[in-house]
């Protein structure tokens, strides 16, 4: 049995504050960051994405040519000093078009994910925390929407209402929020049963305070992981639509549009397919590696970090 120190009076405690040397604690975020830094593929993904996003932000000042500047005399030409990645059939600089296309692809990816994030997290938290019949109704709505073949509906929407940019990421975002809502709701439900939430209720915290201080910080992990995996899914879907000619419309371009036009002339000018394809693939690789790495880092128990049973 440990000896208990007699309660000191307040001033003593205040005085002793000066003399206490607090040991540094490592939060779970610190831990996760250390684990992430050890994962080389994930860090590769992280730096690639950082690079791509910064390039996209300053494209208008960085691009060597205007993206509609044609050089019909030159036509399609392979990579050269003047045009690092060559030119397309209208003599437009491919590097420039890739940079501008990347802006669009990334923007769609981020914006649609943001839409899904806002709707999904709110929906999931409310359903998960309220529970009972509210939860039942909200999740039944999600179930029904989930059963709808949304991809086909997004295409239909694009066909019917014209290929508007805003509509595109709104539509995609409104598809992706369902999964986000399910993940968040599951997490919130699990957390609600945790004793530390009961302890907070017993302490007297209001629902809002509990949500903010105890629930939100604890669902950030899975949400971040899902965001990193949603962005590539959205970019892929945008490219898919654009490839079919149903997404981003000329004169605007995205990587999907560039790939589609590249396919038409791939026999004669393969670089028009290869470079946009590479750009898209590398981005998808980077985001997926980052997402996998984050999942392993934020959930140390996750399967891929575990040992096997056989030597």
């Amino acid at each position: 049995m440990q000896k208990l120190t007699a309660p000191e009076n307040m001033t003593d405690s205040l005085k002793s504050l000066e003399h206490i040397e607090f040991e540094g604690g490592r939060s779970l975020w610190n831990d996760a960051w250390i684990r992430l830094k050890r994962n080389r593929l994930a860090m590769f993904g992280f730096w690639v994405m950082l690079f791509l996003v910064s390039i996209s932000l300053i494209t208008p000042w960085l691009a060597p040519y205007g993206y509609e500047i044609q050089d019909l005399e030159l036509g399609a030409s392979g990579p050269s000093l003047a045009h690092w990645l060559g030119t397309d059939t209208l003599g437009r600089d491919l590097l420039t078009r890739l940079m501008y296309g990347g802006r669009v692809s990334l923007l769609v990816g981020f914006a649609a994910t943001a839409v899904s994030l806002v709707v999904g997290v709110l929906w999931g938290i409310v359903a998960g925390y309220t529970g009972g019949s509210v939860d039942a109704v909200m999740m039944r709505i999600v179930d029904i929407l989930y059963a709808l073949p949304f991809m086909i509906f997004v295409i239909l929407l694009m066909v019917v209402f014209g290929q508007s940019f805003l509509l595109l990421f709104l539509a995609i975002g409104l598809v992706e929020w369902l999964t986000m809502a399910r993940i968040v709701r599951g997490q919130v439900q699990a957390l609600r049963r945790q004793d530390f939430v009961s302890a907070a209720i017993v302490t007297g915290l209001s629902s809002g305070q509990i949500m903010r201080r105890h629930i939100l910080p604890n669902i950030m992990g899975p949400v971040i992981v899902y965001i990193t995996l949603t962005i590539p899914a959205v970019m892929l879907f945008e490219a898919f639509l654009s490839f079919l000619g149903l997404g981003v419309q000329p004169p605007q371009s995205s990587w999907g549009v560039l790939i589609a036009t590249g396919v038409e002339t791939m026999e004669e000018y393969p670089w028009l397919l290869i470079f946009p394809g590479l750009a898209l693939s590398i981005t998808l690789f980077a985001l997926n590696f980052l997402g996998d790495g984050l999942r392993d880092a934020l959930d140390p128990r996750s399967a891929s970090g575990a040992g096997g049973i056989y030597e």
């Binding site: 059963a147 709808l148 086909i152 239909l156 066909v159």
Partner: protein, 307 residues
Amino acid sequence: MSKIILARILQGIPVLLIVVTATFFLVRAAPGGPFDAERSLPAEVVKNLEKRYNLDAPVLDQYVDYLGNLVRGDFGPSFRYPNRSVTELIATGVPITFELAFYAAVIALLIGVASGVIASVRPNSLQDYLPMSLAMTGICLPAFLLGPMLVLIFGIWLEWLPVSGWGYSPGDKILPSVTLGSAYAAYIARLTRAGMLEVLLQDFIRTARAKGLSMPGVVFRHALRGGLAPVVAFSGPAVAGLLTGSFVVETIFQIPGLGRFYVQAAFNRDYTMIMGTTILLSCLIVMLNIVADIFAVWMNPRLRQAK
């Protein structure tokens, strides 16, 4: 079990109704009529056309008519091909798309499950890294990129396989099936690995090993059924993905299936055709989702016996 099946099927009905209704009104709400795109037709002709396609009736009547026809399997006439009904057009495309999706699914399941199991048995070894790197490549090389590349390599440069068509020359089904199936093989491989790793950590696996079972015995008798649960759950969305994926693959390889019809109809604003294919595809997806759900219940003895 039978109660669960019944409940799932009953749940599917409102979903199907939503699909049909949403499709119908979405298309009707489209700005401009279906004939606006044409060079300006005389008002008289437009009126006749509208009468022919029942477009002059109140929208609600049209909706009820359309529903009635649907029940009889009649999707109405095509706007673009006035002499053929949508049902006829779809009927020629469905078997082709199904065949394609079936081959792709078989490829995806065989390769995906096998490589996922192989990877999970010895995680973080070469046996894990190799198939998983391939799987990552499969996910990051979408069909619209992989397809043209395969055509370029095997069709044009090596001239081993035909570059387009379906059932016209021997071997022309190989490239489309591989193109469509590869991404799903990749997803299934990752899901299988994750599911197996989860199961292999469970206590009952240790029990099985303590009985003296060999590694294949443990994996196939005790681990696989639980390890494949995520794959079964994925099969619904995968079917939806295969069907929508056929849009791209059929376009690349010029295959006269449902997907190609859909894309063409979308370009031509052939509304009845869009509605027909959308509804048909949606219904298929909804129904296959129900089948996948039922299969998942059947796989789990605890759910199977639930009253």
